[in-house]
């Protein structure tokens, strides 16, 4: 059963109407534990109704940033605003938020319906409103028939649905999701990602701050992605744009796989917004502005944007020597050598496997490649 299959349109309409989202603003927020800075001054804004995913490796500060919004950690400096109101000094129970965490954190001694009602009871809601909201929230996540069960009688995926219902029931100003799918196995995780996407489509005003280390969850769900590294914001942008044109090496390599080839700027291309660069012996055109002639840059092109055949669109041509070919069912991964660099290519079809040592031509579109300034800090 999927969430959408179980969703009652009227319940969703009622919830959507009541869930007027709020924006979140980080204004120079930094967090330190015992003198060690774990989040350097962070400034960014999440728009009302937006899903912003914060991704990054362990220790990057993404969870700390989320916990600062929740009020679980006190910023060493800066302010956090929700709907324009400074909440930095408010305790968590006065912030009007809700959270879903990795281990679900359902109250084990309470039935599903009691878990979902918890927040409403805590906020002093009237009995009939509580009953109505519990029913509505459980219907949204397709768990109505499990309302009398205890959490221990549910699977991991079902428990996570109840945790989402519990969060939705209080009509949060912002929903905080802290690695919500990490405890689930791969197959259930994939279906839950789709279900959360459908949930947000049904509740478009709900603002969601989503922390994950899984880039595919972020790419599927987020309107925008913020990439954190070593307690600092490394990159932020609209999901598609950030993936297609990563601004730095870390963003390129953390969000999907990327080929980063040393390149020298040769001059402006005919088309505006593009520059001509030299990669080894090849002359190619890539997206970019304001790069001085002769400057050393990194050319970024995704493995799946390289093909073995060129056309009008894929007008760039580079040659590389294949070293390894890994057939992985639906896809073939090809590793080739270009100068001192490694070129990775993902092909859906590879009709004639190349011979070892034979040089191959690879093609890509100028729009699928961009230039990155090498900077050790990011």
């Amino acid at each position: 059963m999927t969430v959408s299959a179980a969703v009652s349109r009227s319940a969703v309409a009622a919830a959507a109407k009541a869930t007027a989202g709020s924006g979140v603003t980080f204004d120079q927020v930094s967090v330190a534990y015992r003198g060690a800075v774990v989040l350097k001054p962070l400034t960014m804004a999440v728009a009302a109704g937006e899903i912003l995913a914060m991704i990054g490796p362990s220790g990057s500060g993404k969870t700390t940033a989320l916990r600062a919004v929740a009020g679980f950690v006190r910023p060493a400096s800066g302010r956090i605003l929700i709907s324009g109101t400074d909440v930095t000094n408010l305790p968590p129970y006065e912030r009007g938020l809700a959270m879903v965490v990795q281990n679900y954190a359902l109250f084990p001694h309470m039935r599903v319906s009691e878990n979902v009602a918890f927040g409403l009871n805590a906020r002093g809601a009237a009995k009939d409103l509580i009953a109505q909201r519990v029913e509505e929230s459980l219907r949204i996540v397709g768990m109505s028939q499990y309302s009398r069960r205890f959490p221990r009688e549910l699977s991991g995926g079902q428990q996570q649905r109840v945790a989402i219902a519990r969060a939705l029931a209080v009509r949060p100003r912002v929903l905080l999701l802290d690695e919500p799918l990490s405890a689930l196995d791969a197959q259930i995780r994939r279906s839950m990602v789709e279900e959360i996407a459908r949930l947000h489509a049904d509740l478009p005003d709900l603002t969601i701050l989503y922390v994950t280390h899984d880039q595919s969850e972020a790419l599927t769900l987020a309107d925008r992605i913020a990439i954190l590294k070593d307690g600092e914001l490394s990159a932020i942008g609209r999901t598609g744009e950030l993936y297609r044109r990563p601004p730095n090496r870390f963003a390129a390599e953390f969000l999907g796989r990327a080929n980063l080839l040393p390149a020298v700027v040769a001059g402006n291309a005919e088309k505006s917004g593009f520059v001509a660069v030299r990669v080894g012996e090849a002359n190619v055109v890539v997206a970019g502005d304001d790069h001085p002639v002769g400057a050393e840059r990194l050319l970024c092109v995704r493995p799946q944007n390289l093909t073995l055949t060129g056309d009008d669109e894929r007008s760039n041509r580079i040659e590389a020597e294949p070293r390894e070919i890994h057939w992985q069912g639906e896809l073939t991964h090809l590793v080739a050598q270009i100068g001192q660099s490694v070129l990775r290519v993902v092909a859906t079809r590879l009709p004639n496997p190349p011979a070892r040592g034979e040089k191959l031509a690879f093609f890509f579109s100028p729009a699928d490649a961009n230039l990155i300034v090498e900077d050790a800090r990011v």
Binding site: P92, Y93, R95, A98, M99, F118, G119, A122, V170
Partner: protein, 285 residues
């Protein structure tokens, strides 16, 4: 079963056919069951060796016994309640609102388990006794003729001493239970709008209930049988079952009466111990 198991060399093992149980049973019988049987015999048989319930019945119907039973129950229940309330308060602070040195405080409270119970009582006489520090300070500063604080030589003195001595027995399992409470449950509850008291009531205490029952029943068991504190304080009119057994046997040489009361005391202890074991099993689970 696979062949591999059948072919595996048999572990060297003495086949005693169940006789191995005999030595521990004999030790158990000699050390525990035989003395208990002697007490039961002394309580229910007269000097000629015939069964005689009349004497035991008279003792158990006496005003002294009923008063001691009531005193024992009142003091044990009040002390246990005090231990649970104090243990809960200390446990919640130590586990959820830790301060610098909280670990040290917990360890110091723990060491009370190792101290003889009468030592605390002795310290109390120095503190709250009629010539103690508190009364000395009050009489000299307020110019009083008589010491104003005299609760120590009443049932309240016994209860205060027992609460001081036995609180660690509640605190220890509580701290263990609190350490298992999922912190994210508390955080999620807080974000859902629950204030600290509601979180304690609805999230933390249900998780710690088996520990409270285990610690509380252990406290009840120990306070029912407490002898040293009651004897040492010597509060007027505060006679509990252990003290009554002592005075019957040692001061009045009424061994039959002492043994009859002892049987009641043992039955009470075993019932409380069963409750403790049940709660401890739940806690372990």
């Amino acid at each position: 079963m696979s062949d591999a198991v059948a072919l595996a060399p048999r572990a060297a093992k003495l086949n005693l056919g169940g006789w191995w149980i005999a030595p521990p049973l004999i030790v158990l019988a000699l050390l525990f069951l035989y003395p208990l049987a002697l007490i039961a015999r002394a309580a229910l048989m007269d000097d000629s060796g015939a069964l005689n319930f009349a004497a035991a019945f008279d003792v158990l119907n006496s005003r002294a016994f009923l008063s001691a039973l009531l005193n024992t129950a009142e003091i044990a229940l009040a002390s246990t309640l005090g231990c649970v309330v104090l243990g809960l308060t200390l446990g919640l602070i130590l586990a959820f609102a830790p301060f610098p040195g909280a670990g040290l405080v917990a360890r110091i409270i723990d060491t009370f388990i190792a101290l003889p119970t009468f030592l605390v009582t002795l310290a109390f006489t120095f503190l709250y006794g009629s010539a103690g520090i508190l009364n000395g300070a009050l009489t000299s500063s307020l110019g009083l003729d008589h010491p104003p604080v005299d609760f120590l030589y009443t049932a309240w003195g016994v209860i205060l001493a027992e609460v001081t001595v036995y609180t660690p027995f509640v605190l220890r399992p509580l701290l263990a239970a609190f350490s298992l409470v999922d912190r994210s449950q508390i955080e999620v509850a807080s974000l859902l709008g629950a204030r600290p008291l509601r979180i304690v009531r609805q999230v933390i205490l249900p998780a710690a209930l088996p520990a409270i029952v285990a610690g509380g029943s252990l406290c009840l068991l120990l306070t029912v049988n407490e002898f040293g504190i009651v004897l040492f304080i010597g509060a007027k009119g505060v006679i509990t079952l252990p003290l009554l057994i002592y005075s019957k046997a040692i001061q009045e040489s009424d061994y039959q009466g002492a043994c009859a009361i002892a049987i009641v005391n043992v039955a009470l202890s075993l019932a409380l111990f069963s409750l403790y074991r049940f709660a401890a099993r739940r806690l372990g689970a």
